[in-house]
Structure formats: structure tokens, C-alpha cells
């Protein structure tokens, strides 16, 4: 091993250690920032080490890439927090694109001389990478509402998907047997691109947290496969960490919906709706002043945000109302369901942006025991995550999904744009319960008006 090689491997070792330490620091918000700076330093070390790689002779293309990448990456870090899900999806697409292009380039350069094992890893890398690219782009455009968020389904969809998948695998095997036939390789890659599209179009926006986590996982595993092709440990380590992180998150998200990954991917949820629900009777509309009085004289108020808070950009208005109530001595808490919003942790980030301290943000399991002692639970643009049918009606499509049990609170106020059903199209018996009052209108406007009304009380 030459000195140069030792230096290079040294930087990779440092990078690997810093990545792990960085992720470990994410176990607490107080240490998280320092840890991420360490991880970024690890990345810088690995990049600088690689720039001294003995094979690199021409820095022109590298410089173009680095500058162009920064020029696009930096503005992408400046998006508003409400756009976090689509930004992350887009970024998964870029990560996977890089991995698949490295794979394609390796094949173009070395061809069949890589040997079957490395070609196998390369094939996996390109397949996973390519389907993540198109899948993430579809997810991003659904989240950005460039295309409709409802599931797109057609007859025989599952059969088409299965056939496409089998074709992709067949060409992969054919190519492994005849690695010189580039046409097999490119057909496989093409199938993967199309498969990514077909995989994500039947999935509704409400299931995006699972899809985002899965795509995160695929992008990571694709990087790990690159590591196998290049025999590079830091790539394997970083890719695997990303792959497993996404995998764990997808499992957590599925658990929070009481559904299996197969059900999310192939169930086409939200397209079919079961009719029999306990939802009957009439909804009780309440006035702004009634709610204001209730809030002002409450001992404890719990806000339960959902995706509606993000679309209405109401996080700052919530915070203002919360502040005012705290000034009056009301105990204010925020109950966050794991799948509220469009990506894992979405609501936490929005509320943190609005300066809500993280000590006021409670997980579902922490807030549920507190609800019976809560005077007013305020539901802001959330629907399924507070739907009592999940608990009470075994026939409901969301039966068994753990919910935030706002109906156990002494009184519930639901902020809702209109009388229509929520995103999933399910009836929500919560709205018909005697304990519930409906406050219609734009969430942000309602909250701002409520703040003024509380001030008058």
C-alpha cells in the first residue's frame, strides 16, 4: 500500500466514524447539530482524500460538477419548511441518480472484466437507483401537486407491474450470463425506470410517509451496492446506514397505520371506501367566541396538527394562540401522530419552525393518557389520525390504526376547511360526537381570529 493509498483509506475511515457518530448524536435534539457538523466534516474529509486519488488526472469535469451541484444544492436547502417532503423526495432522486450513473459508467468503462459478482452488485445498484429516480420524481410531483395526489389506478395494474418486474429480473439474469451484451443491461435499466413510475402512481398522498422512507432506503442501498462494485468500505457503510434508516422508518410508519408494506404499496388505499361507519347524526357548528371562552378558561389545551396545518401554513398562528394561552396560565401541549403530514416527523419540523419548544411536542403514546384530563383538544387539519373508527369499528379500512384519542378529551374543537370528507375519503365519526364542535374555515384565519377573540375574553 502506497502512502497515497494509506492517506486515502485514512480519510475514508475517519469519514465512516464521523458518519456513525453524527447519526448517533441525532438521538437528542441538543446534541444533534454538533453531530451533523461532524458528519459534514467526515464528508469533506472523504471528498478531499478522493481528490488526491492516484487515478484522477483531470479536474475539469470534477470542478464543473462540484460547482453546478452546489449551485443547485444550496438553493434547494432554502425552501420553506412546508415544502420539506417534496424537497426530500427530489433529493432522493438526485442521490439515486448519482449511484446509477456511477454504475452505468463503471459498466461502460470496464465492461465484463468486472466479473460476475461485481456485475451482480452493479446490476442491483443500477436497478435500485433507477427505480428510485423515477419513483422519487413521481412522489415529489404528487407532493408539489404537479400531478393529482389521489391513487392513479387502471385495470390489471398489478399484473402489468408484476410482468414488468419479471422482465427486469429476466434481463438482469440474461445480462449476468452474457455480460458483453450491453442491450440486456440497458433494457434492464429501462425497465427499472418505468417500474419506479408504476410503483408510485397508485399510492395516495396520505401514504407518502411510507413511500418516502422506502425510497430513502433504496437510495441508500443503491449507494451500498456501489461500494461493493468499487470495493470501497465507506460507500458500503454510509449506504447501509441510509438504507437501514429508511427501512426502519418505513416499518415505523407502517406500524403507525397498522398496515403492511405490501398493503401500502399494492393496496391502492383511498380508492375504495367502505361505507358502514358509525358516522351519523349531525355535526355541531360552534362559533369563534364560544371556542375562545372555552380555551381561555381551560386548564389544559392539546393541539393535534395534521397535513391541513401545513397546507394552510398555520403553524405560526398556532404558536401565537398557544403563547397567548400559556400567558394566561393554560397548559398547552401538542400531540403529534407519527404519520401526521407527508413525511416522518413533518409536523415536528413545522412547529419547531414556528418556535414551539420541543419540550411541548408530545408523541402519540405520551399524549393519549393526558387527553381525559384535557379540557379542549383542538384538531387542526387532521383527520384519519384522530378517527375513532380506527379504534371502534373493526370494519373500517383503517381499523387497528393507533390514533390520538381526542374524543376522550372533555371537549373537542375541529378546525376544518369545509364539510367534505378528508383526504382518505373516509367518514370520521369524531365530527358527529356530542363532545365535538366544528369550526369551519381556513385554519390560519380561524386561529388568528381565535387569538384575537381570546384577547377580548
Amino acid at each position: 500500500m502506497s502512502h497515497g493509498e494509506l492517506f486515502l483509506q485514512g480519510t475514508y475511515l475517519i469519514a465512516s466514524i464521523l458518519f456513525v457518530m453524527g447519526l448517533r448524536s441525532l438521538s437528542h435534539p441538543d446534541t444533534a447539530r454538533r453531530g451533523m457538523i461532524m458528519a459534514a466534516a467526515g464528508m469533506a474529509a472523504a471528498v478531499i482524500g478522493t481528490l488526491f486519488h492516484p487515478d484522477i488526472h483531470n479536474y475539469l469535469y470534477i470542478a464543473i460538477g462540484l460547482i453546478l451541484g452546489s449551485a443547485i444544492g444550496i438553493p434547494m436547502a432554502m425552501v420553506p419548511m412546508t415544502a420539506m417532503p417534496q424537497r426530500t423526495a427530489l433529493s432522493h432522486a438526485f442521490g439515486a441518480l448519482a449511484a446509477s450513473m456511477v454504475g452505468i459508467a463503471e459498466y461502460v468503462i470496464h465492461g465484463s472484466s468486472l466479473g460476475t459478482v461485481k456485475l451482480g452488485a452493479l446490476g442491483l445498484e443500477v436497478m435500485l437507483g433507477s427505480l428510485t429516480v423515477t419513483g422519487s420524481l413521481i412522489a415529489a410531483s404528487k407532493l408539489q401537486e404537479l400531478m393529482r395526489g389521489t391513487p392513479i389506478q387502471f385495470k390489471g395494474q398489478q399484473i402489468v407491474n408484476l410482468c414488468l418486474f419479471l422482465t427486469m429480473v429476466t434481463f438482469f439474469v440474461l445480462w449476468l450470463v452474457n455480460p458483453d451484451k450491453a442491450v440486456f443491461f440497458y433494457t434492464m435499466a429501462g425497465c427499472a425506470f418505468v417500474f419506479g413510475v408504476l410503483l408510485v402512481i397508485p399510492i395516495g398522498s396520505a401514504d407518502m410517509p411510507v413511500v418516502m422512507s422506502l425510497l430513502n432506503s433504496y437510495a441508500g442501498l443503491s449507494s451500498a451496492a456501489t461500494g461493493f462494485v468499487l470495493s470501497n468500505n465507506v460507500l458500503i457503510i454510509a449506504g447501509t446506514l441510509d438504507g437501514f434508516s429508511g427501512f426502519i422508518l418505513s416499518i415505523l410508519m407502517c406500524k403507525a397505520m397498522n398496515r403492511s408494506i405490501t398493503n401500502v404499496l399494492f393496496g391502492g388505499f383511498g380508492a375504495v371506501t367502505a361505507a358502514d361507519s358509525a358516522a351519523a347524526g349531525s355535526m355541531r357548528e360552534v362559533t369563534l367566541d364560544d371556542v375562545a371562552v372555552q380555551l381561555a378558561y381551560a386548564n389544559q389545551v392539546v393541539f393535534v396538527p395534521g397535513y391541513g396545518m401545513a397546507t394552510a401554513q398555520a403553524q405560526h398562528a398556532v404558536r401565537e394562540l398557544g403563547n397567548l394561552l400559556e400567558e394566561r396560565g393554560v397548559s398547552v401541549k401538542y400531540g403529534i401522530h407519527p404519520v401526521a403530514g407527508r413525511m416522518p416527523g413533518h409536523m415536528n419540523v413545522l412547529l419547531a419552525e414556528a418556535n414551539v419548544p420541543y419540550s411541548s411536542l408530545y408523541e402519540m403514546d405520551q399524549i393519549n393518557p393526558e387527553l381525559p384530563a384535557t379540557d379542549v383538544a383542538v384538531v387542526i387539519g387532521a383527520n384519519d389520525v384522530v378517527n375513532p373508527d380506527a379504534r371502534d369499528n373493526p370494519k373500517s379500512p383503517i381499523a387497528g390504526m393507533p390514533i390520538i384519542e381526542v374524543d376522550r378529551a372533555k371537549s373537542v374543537v375541529v378546525l376544518k376547511r369545509g364539510k367534505g370528507k378528508g383526504f382518505s375519503g373516509l367518514e370520521n365519526p369524531l365530527f358527529f360526537k356530542p363532545v365535538t364542535g366544528m369550526l369551519y374555515g381556513d385554519a390560519k384565519a380561524s386561529l388568528t381570529n381565535l387569538t384575537q377573540a381570546v384577547q377580548r375574553v
Partner: protein, 138 residues
């Protein structure tokens, strides 16, 4: 688990000592593959342990951080973009350049936005404490 891994490590390192490094061959080298699988298995185990400890509060930053870290494919792209090849030089350079660009988007964008988010997570500030000490006046 250890009982299983240790003999594997031993065999892998023996292989590496005997023939690793010395071979210039690009093709499949069983020792390197075993070592790589070993790293993969340990990284998976470690990843599971480390990431299970991240609270749901920080799941969005976790996702953007791991996304930034997986931009490590940047180092593979750098070598492709900067190397000289006998054949397909143009195609390799263009693919390398495009790969460097995409990976760099992930790295810069990912780390910057993760930091921006983590900056927002804070404990109760001073004014907040004041109102809390005043709690109970009602």
C-alpha cells in the same frame, strides 16, 4: 453473533494478507468480497442500533441527514469524472460529471437543510420560563 463473526474475520484477514492488495485485477476477489460483506453486515447492525434511538421528533432531520450521507457516492463519481480511460473517455467523463453534480446536490443541500432544521429545535427560551414561573396565578 461474535462467535460467528470472529472466525469469519480471521479467514477474511488471512485472505487479505496473502493475496489482497497485490492483485491489480479488477475482477472478483473472494477475500475482498468477504471483507465487504463483513462491513455490510456490521454496518447494518450498527445502523439498526443507532437509528432506533432517534426519537420521532427528529425523523425529518434524520431522513435528510442520511440522505446527505448517502451522497457519499460522490467519491465514486469523482474518480470516474477525473480518470483517463483508453476507451469511452467522453462518455465516462460526461457520466462522471453528471454524477458528481447530482451527488453534490445531495451533499450540500442535505447537510445545509438538516442544520437549518436542527437550529429550530430548541428548549423553552427565557421568556417562556418567565410565563411558566407565573403559572398557577389563575
Amino acid at each position: 453473533m461474535h462467535l460467528l463473526f470472529q472466525p469469519m474475520a480471521f479467514i477474511a484477514s488471512l485472505y487479505l494478507l496473502s493475496e489482497g492488495g497485490a492483485r491489480e485485477n479488477l475482477a472478483f476477489n473472494p477475500a475482498v468480497l468477504i471483507a465487504s460483506l463483513y462491513v455490510f453486515a456490521l454496518a447494518a447492525f450498527l445502523g439498526y442500533q443507532v437509528i432506533s434511538r432517534v426519537p420521532p421528533l427528529l425523523h425529518t432531520p434524520l431522513m435528510s441527514a442520511t440522505n446527505a450521507i448517502s451522497g457519499i457516492s460522490l467519491i465514486g463519481s469523482l474518480v470516474i469524472g477525473g480518470s483517463r480511460y483508453e476507451h469511452h473517455q467522453t462518455l465516462a467523463s460526461v457520466l462522471g460529471c453528471a454524477a458528481v453534480t447530482s451527488a453534490m446536490i445531495n451533499v450540500t443541500g442535505g447537510f445545509l437543510i438538516t442544520d437549518r432544521m436542527l437550529k429550530m429545535f430548541r428548549k423553552k427560551d427565557a421568556t417562556q420560563k418567565d410565563t411558566h414561573s407565573a403559572e398557577g396565578k389563575k
